[in-house]
Structures are given as C-alpha cells and as structure tokens.
C-alpha cells in the first residue's frame, strides 16, 4: 500500500495536537456537567464537534494533521479523567460512588445524590448512622 500522506511541519502537527487536546479536555468537562442521560442528539452533536465539518475543513484528507489531532483529543479527554480520579481520591467529600451517581458529602455532613432529584434546599438528607463503626444497632 502506498503512503499518500501529506507532509506537515512540526508546528502544524503541534497545533493540531493542541487543538485536539483542548477539545478532548472540554469534551470530558461538558460530559461531566451533563444534566440528563446521554441522548441520541447529544452523540450526533459530539460527532459534529469531534469528527465533523471542523475537522474535515481544518485538516486536509490523508494528512498527518488528523493523526496529531486524534492523539491530542485522546490525551486531553483521558487526562481530564485521570485528574478527576486523583482529585476524587484525595478529597474527603467524594469517593468512587461519585462516578456512579454523583453523590458527595455536603459541608453539613449530609450526603447529596443529584440523580435522586433536585432538592428544594440544600440537598437530600440521608440518615447518617451515628455509630456505624460501633456494631449493630
């Protein structure tokens, strides 16, 4: 198979990579602050953003710029994810369950679960067992 890729200068490759990095980072951030479950329309929009007209317009077909963009996209996306894991791990108010349903400990000690519903004020109070470590009640 012949390689018909177009040569790109290092600065072009770096630019495409940084563009992807930024887009990947924002992609995870936007996904993180999503209010509802992922809908079909969301993915169609994402398709348009990460692999649509902009990419086709910016990068000539079969050029190495697409490669740099793709690498940057994955790097930004998963870098955000790794940073998130580290922050959740070191924070006393979050644990791994946050990735499942977004639950976190409020400053007053109550556990707030966003997916249960929007509370009228200050979150949904869950009864805290006073002596969880003290054996059966």
């Amino acid at each position: 198979m012949t390689d018909s890729s177009q040569a790109a200068t290092p600065i072009q490759l770096a630019g495409a990579g940084c563009f992807g990095l930024l887009l990947g980072w924002y992609l995870y951030m936007i996904n993180r602050y999503r209010k509802t479950d992922v809908q079909i329309s969301d993915l169609v929009t994402l398709l348009g953003v990460i692999g649509g007209g902009a990419v086709l317009g910016l990068f000539p077909a079969r050029s190495d710029l697409f490669g740099a963009y793709g690498i940057g996209l994955a790097a930004g996306f998963f870098l955000y994810f790794v940073v998130l894991i580290i922050l959740v791990r070191i924070s006393p108010n979050f644990d791994a369950d946050w990735f499942l349903d977004g639950r976190r400990t409020l400053p007053n000690g109550q556990i707030f679960v966003p997916q249960v519903g929007v509370p009228s004020s200050g979150g949904i109070a869950m009864e805290v067992k006073p002596d969880v470590e003290g054996g059966k009640h």
Binding site: M1, D3, S4, S5, L13, G20, G24, L27, N31, D37, V38, I40, L43, L46, L47, I50, G51, G52, V55, L56, F59, A61, R62, D64, F66, G67, A68, Y69, G70, I71, G72, L73, A74, A75, F77, F78, A96, D97, F99, L100, K129, V132, E133, G135, K136
Partner: protein
C-alpha cells in the same frame, strides 16, 4: 501512516468511551445497540474521509476496546458500591 493510525486509535478510544454512556438503564436494548452501531459507523465514515481506509481497523478496534473497558469499569464500581453497602448494613 503511523501518525494517522495513532490518531484513529485516539479518536476510537474517545468515541468508544463516550458510547459507553449511552443506554444505561434503558428499557429498549435493541434500539440502543442499533444506535451504537450507527454511531460507530458514522464516526468510521468520518475517519475514512479524513484518514483513509487503512485507519478504519485501528479506529474500530480501539473504539470497541474503550467501550468494553468503560463497561467493565462501571460494573466494577457498581459491585464495589454494592459490597460496601452490604457490609454497612451488616454492621
């Protein structure tokens, strides 16, 4: 060629991970699966248009890999959550 393949793999990882978010708790799994297939196909068409046919295989493989990894990760989280909850209730 190598750079384009790596780009396809990167795009596949991101797309596969995002697809793992679709259809959680859905009551229409057939619809979800059809949609996932269509979504991968659409993205593959874009990859072919930008990077050529040769990148399709790395893209598809990495997409599937990321999807499976996301599913396994979520399942693992759910299992650990359930185990913690059960152990708290047993106390």
């Amino acid at each position: 060629m190598l750079l384009r393949s790596l780009g396809g793999i990167g795009l596949g990882f991101v797309w596969g991970w995002l697809l793992g978010l679709v259809g959680r708790g859905t009551r229409r799994p057939i619809f979800t699966r059809s949609f996932l297939m269509a979504a991968v196909l659409l993205q593959a068409i874009v990859v072919i248009a930008v990077a050529g046919w040769a990148v399709t295989a790395p893209f598809a493989l990495s997409c599937g890999f990321a999807y499976v990894m996301h599913m396994l990760w979520r399942r693992q989280l759910a299992v650990r959550h359930q185990a913690r909850r059960t152990s708290k209730e047993d106390l």
